[in-house]
Amino acid sequence: MPDNAVCFPEADALLEIAGLSVSLGRNSILENISFKVARGSIHALIGPNGAGKTTLIRSILGQMPHRGTIMFRFTGNGRIGYVPQFLDFDHSIPLTVSDFIKLLLQDYPLFLAGRKRNMEKVEEIISVTECLHLKDRMMGGLSGGEFRRVLLAQALFPIPELLLLDEPASNMDEVSTSQFEQLLKKLQKRHGLSILMVGHDIRRILALADHVTAVNRRVVFDGKPDILQNPARLAEIFGLGFPDLFASCKAEG
């Protein structure tokens, strides 16, 4: 673990990753990753493209063979909610928001069930992320922000102990991203969620996260996000690329 890591009591860590390594054939994707996610916190996982962030998320979900340990200290239902970056489907398919939630909700074949079957439950689920008005809209016709809210709604059914978000800001404009972040914070407070989110926009991380782990195959930084406000320190940690990103956000700001 890097020397600048912020430590907290072991009991407060909902997720503890120690010495995690992932290889695909001869290629090493992740090497000796170690960090903790505090209970009830928003923890950001950042890094450049190809740094292994999504592989790390898949390892946490138990979908990737790895070495090392991933320890959960769940005290409730032990559920992990997952918000994917995208859904791979033809956008002209008549898949409504209600249909999508029903596919998750019921074993009974969707085409045999009446339209109103489970509708109350669907409404309850999508109300959590304030998208009840979208229930009859086509998934392929949603804006980036609306789409992300629906994906968040499915992940929150039932309310998980750990919520994983893969690049939640992708395909969203500035206003939608800001609204989504406010919603995420509100839900985190209301339900006491522990959130681990993948991102690469340092400006957004600064506004949202309680803790940041930066990876580029290895852990290159693990600590409070405010250190990222210092461009010199940022350049020292990340090398080229990230300072440019920071400079651009400063210019905009």
Binding site: D88, P94, L103, L104, P109, L110, F111, R115
Partner: protein, 292 residues
């Protein structure tokens, strides 16, 4: 079976049904059309969602080799079931295996295998036609109502019943797993297993419908009713039911027309489904215009 044919034949003689139902081959064809239509329609919606349309065509092309292999293995000329089902299932499962184990795109895998089964099929057909009647192979390629026999109908009924039950049970999970494998695994599903299940079901139904529709035309009947339903439906439930309805209309009306015209059943069925598709486009444009 004979009793059923007699009852329907008598109804036709009495004038309660069209006179073409006095012929046994027409009754067989109609029963086959009633079984195949709904299943192809329902499966077509998942084929479109999973972008597997040309996968279906590869299975159709593999049927050429399947028939030839069946004949070479010594199966009767009017019932090469082991060769057909066996070879087509093997091709479908190998393609799915390669897709899941390699970085190749679905399109590339289909391109490679489509060419291979076509090559093998041509070589085997040349070997076979020197010993057997080429018209049997033609029936597989273009569909032939006359060659449909009782055994085909019984096989089709068994295939349709089992595929229909498994399709209904797995529908929600197959659809969900096609959207995002990581999400579906996080929901406790096994997307790879579900893909194998669906591919096996699709292969079974495609092969079962070859004699009626033909290997070269089956793709159209899988894709076109579902595409037409896509133009008309407002949700997934409507998508499935409209596709079932259009596909059943295509198979039954097409079959009745092929009884009146001297052309292969598959070609007329495809023509009817194409007309329905263009009709759906007109309806869609009209509805949009009204809303605007």
């Amino acid at each position: 079976m004979e009793l059923l044919y007699d009852i329907i034949g008598n109804c036709a003689q009495a004038g309660w049904l069209p006179s073409i139902f006095q012929h046994t081959f027409m009754i067989r064809g109609f029963l086959a059309a009633m079984l195949i239509g709904p299943l192809l329609g329902a499966m077509g919606t998942v084929v479109i969602t999973k972008k597997l349309a040309f996968f279906t065509q590869t299975i159709g092309n593999a049927a050429m080799s399947g028939v030839a292999i069946g004949l070479l293995l010594g199966e009767p000329v009017d019932g090469t079931y082991a060769g057909l089902y066996g070879f087509c299932l093997i091709v479908a499962l190998i393609m799915t295996f390669i897709k899941n184990r390699s970085r190749l795109s679905n399109d590339t895998i289909i391109g490679v295998v489509l060419a291979q089964v076509l090559g093998i099929g041509i070589i085997l057909m040349i070997l076979v036609t020197s010993q057997f009647n080429i018209h049997q192979v033609e029936a597989i390629l273009f569909g032939s109502l006359i060659t449909l026999n009782d055994m085909d109908l019984i096989t089709l009924f068994a295939a349709a019943l089992s595929a229909g039950i498994i399709f209904t049970i797995t529908y929600n999970r197959v659809m969900l797993s096609s959207f995002n494998p990581v999400l579906s695994r996080s929901r406790g599903l096994n997307p790879v297993f579900l893909e194998y299940v669906f591919v096996a079901l699709m292969t079974t139904i495609v092969v079962a419908s070859l004699k009626l529709i033909g290997a070269l035309l089956v793709l159209v009947l899988i894709v076109v009713p579902a595409a037409a339903a896509q133009n008309l439906a407002c949700n997934l439930r409507q998508f499935v039911w409209i596709s079932i309805m259009l596909s059943t209309i295509s198979t039954t009306v097409g079959l009745l027309l092929s009884g009146l015209l001297p052309v292969p059943s598959g070609a007329v069925i495809v023509l009817v489904s194409s007309l329905l598709f263009y009709g759906s486009l007109v309806v869609r444009v009209a509805v949009k215009g009204k809303r605007a």
